[in-house]
């Protein structure tokens, strides 16, 4: 239940543009459906990052249209049909590029924040 209280604060800190990168990363681990992506991000981030579900699907459609994800309908373990996304070669390249620039940005920002007064 504490997840609900924490969620809005964490959401506000999910920087614009990072959602696409997180999706690419999670999909890179294994083909996965939309609901799975939300749960995975929540789990890996130890409940700190709650993806806004309303913006997840537009993001998935955007990434698919750019050729970074490919979707196909498959049957889940529960016997339900679900749309699974997987990473394409272009998607992997994009993920690497975004990870690189993200790390550079973080390093630069922490340099500034850690400057002694």
């Amino acid at each position: 239940m504490s997840r609900q209280e924490k969620a809005p604060a964490a959401e506000a800190e999910l920087l614009q543009g990072t959602l696409d990168m997180l999706i690419l990363k999670v999909v890179a681990l294994a083909p996965i459906h939309g609901y799975g992506i939300v749960q995975r991000i929540l789990l890996i981030s130890k409940d700190a990052l709650q993806v806004r579900q309303g913006s997840l699907y537009p993001a998935l459609y955007r990434l698919e249209n750019r050729g970074w994800l490919r979707a196909e309908w498959k049957v889940t373990e529960g016997g339900r049909e679900a749309k699974f996304y997987r990473l394409t070669k272009d998607g992997r390249r994009q993920l690497e590029a975004e990870t690189d620039s993200w790390e550079r940005l973080c390093a630069a920002i922490s340099l500034i924040l850690k400057t002694a007064e």
């Binding site: 609901y35 309303g54 699907y57 339900r80 679900a82």
Partner: protein, 131 residues
């Protein structure tokens, strides 16, 4: 051909609905597992998802060549309005004609009188001098 567009969107939306329904059902199932009763689980799943119709609209907006589709729809709409109301169409065409014509005339005069160099040797070096 208009039915073709409708049918395409209809099928597209059915697939998206199916995808979102799967998402919500999974969420409801997990909420029940977490101890909520059926009704609460359902309400919480929908509440957490947020505006579903808005999300669907945003998915539709993400498709490639959307501007081309929009252009076609807008043109069709314009054509229908014009056919239904020829007087309005005529007025618009007249206004545009007059507007473009007046602009062209004004610019032609300004160009001939002020901008074009005079037909003299080194005409571009001639300036007006007010004393």
């Amino acid at each position: 051909m208009i039915w073709d567009t409708w049918l395409r969107r209809y099928r597209w939306e059915r697939r998206l609905d199916k995808e979102l329904r799967f998402h919500l059902e999974q969420q409801i199932r997990d909420n029940i597992k977490a101890g909520l009763n059926a009704e609460e689980a359902r309400a919480k799943a929908y509440r957490d998802f947020g505006a579903i119709e808005l999300a669907k609209e945003e998915c539709w907006d993400e498709r490639p060549l959307r501007w081309l589709d929009d252009l076609i729809w807008d043109s069709r709409f314009a054509a229908r309005i014009f056919v239904r109301n020829p007087g309005f169409a005529f007025t618009i065409v007249l206004m545009l004609t007059l507007g473009v014509g007046a602009n062209t005339a004004a610019f032609s005069i300004v160009y001939a009188v002020l901008l074009r160099p005079l037909p003299l040797p080194s005409g571009d070096r001639v300036t007006s001098n007010r004393l």
